[in-house]
Symmetry: C2
Subunit: 212 residues, 2 copies
DNA sequence: TGCAAATGTGAGGATTGCTCATGTTTTGAA
DNA sequence: TTCAAAACATGAGCAATCCTCACATTTGCA
């Protein structure tokens, strides 16, 4: 009943019950995550069975629960890795944008990369599809989106110094979230329509970002 | 093992295992849906237990499964009612839009109504939150969104007869989906920021709808 | 009235997330 | 080196839950 891990606020955020401190256990945790990733790619996270994860990782079910408090925590851990990776990429792409044309270029490329990732990575697709239903994942996605929107806000403040800062923040956050929604929509229809939708989103977003 | 209900395509769409034909059973099905609705409002559809639905509806668990093939089917049935209701409302609001100003007016009102519904109706909020995870619900939402986007497309074709029809269809569908995403985003942040996001969405959407 | 179809019931089968008592390995201080 | 404490590993089994099915009851109708 006692919690050793700190519980943030009242919502129970998924977190390792115990962080692996030895080399051996660190390797085993990696194997667990790899097994989970493979199973999600094959059947989706809903159909992923904890017993199967353990078996494929070559560990016992008990070991699995030694490091992950529950099933969602495994998915969450994978999701966290994706967000950390992509943040660096996004930050770099937007860092040296100097004018409107540069923003258009960088933004378009970012959207393409994101769209391509969703098309190619079944795990990513699965994880962020369930986002709405899972409280912890929704939380993670919102935080990630806010962080990414901040990079965009910084660019906007440079390009449009006269505009109201709060309005720019709202615009950046909205545009970013619309982008994620647009990509999720695009991959759930056929490829041709998906491409059209992504292009339409780009135009719409850029029009908004460069307005006024 | 035998299916009496027709199975559309290969994906198993949730549908009543047997349609109630007698007055008595129709009333009981209503009670089941009412009970489910109440439980979803209280705890969310994930925490809703089939046994509890049956108990609250005053029927046995077996009767529940006589008319609903599985748990998701109950949620789906509730969702279908919401979409049917809202379609009529949307169709009416957009039917007699004659000019750009009229579109701006009608569109803004529709968004407000939708936003208000999500703020006030916990059941609706819950159902459409899980949309991404559940195949059948995702299907229903896409079909609904397509239907609603068609009303919007009709207006656009009237206002911009020179534009490419396919482009207008893509724009309408995208704008509509972005609206649903924007509202879902808005209700998951605090009220003040939510209001700002919805207003920003309206501006962005109208700019796109009336562009060129 | 009588019979077939529709409806109603709830104990229990089957699956699955997760616990816990117990055993093994690693660490680090004396 | 020694050895106790901490970390790690195990898997049988508990508990929760969805759903089935054999059997009982009610309804519609010829």
């Amino acid at each position: 009943m006692e919690d050793t891990a700190p519980v943030s606020s009242q919502e129970q955020i998924a977190s390792p019950r115990r962080a692996p401190s030895q080399q051996r256990s660190r390797e085993r945790v990696e194997r667990m995550l790899a097994a989970a990733s493979a199973l999600i790619a094959e059947q989706g996270s809903d159909a992923m069975r904890m017993g199967e994860v353990a078996q494929r990782a070559g560990v016992s079910i008990g070991s699995l629960y030694q490091f992950f408090p529950d099933k969602r925590a495994i998915v969450w851990a994978l999701a966290e890795r994706y967000t950390a990776e992509s943040q660096a990429c996004i930050s770099a792409a937007l860092a040296d944008v100097g004018d409107a044309e540069g923003l258009g270029q960088a933004f378009s490329e970012l959207v393409d990369i994101y769209y391509g990732l969703f098309l190619a990575e079944p795990v990513m697709r699965d994880i962020w599809s369930g986002t709405q239903a899972d409280k912890a994942l929704r939380q993670l996605e919102l935080a990630d989106s806010r962080a990414n929107a901040e990079f965009l806000t910084a660019v906007l403040k440079r390009l449009r110094p006269a505009a109201d800062p709060t309005a720019l923040e709202t615009t950046a956050f909205l545009v970013w979230q619309m982008g994620e929604a647009a990509v999720r929509l695009a991959i759930s229809v056929d490829r041709q329509e998906g491409d059209r939708l992504v292009e339409a989103y780009k135009r719409m977003a850029l029009r908004e970002l460069l307005a006024e």
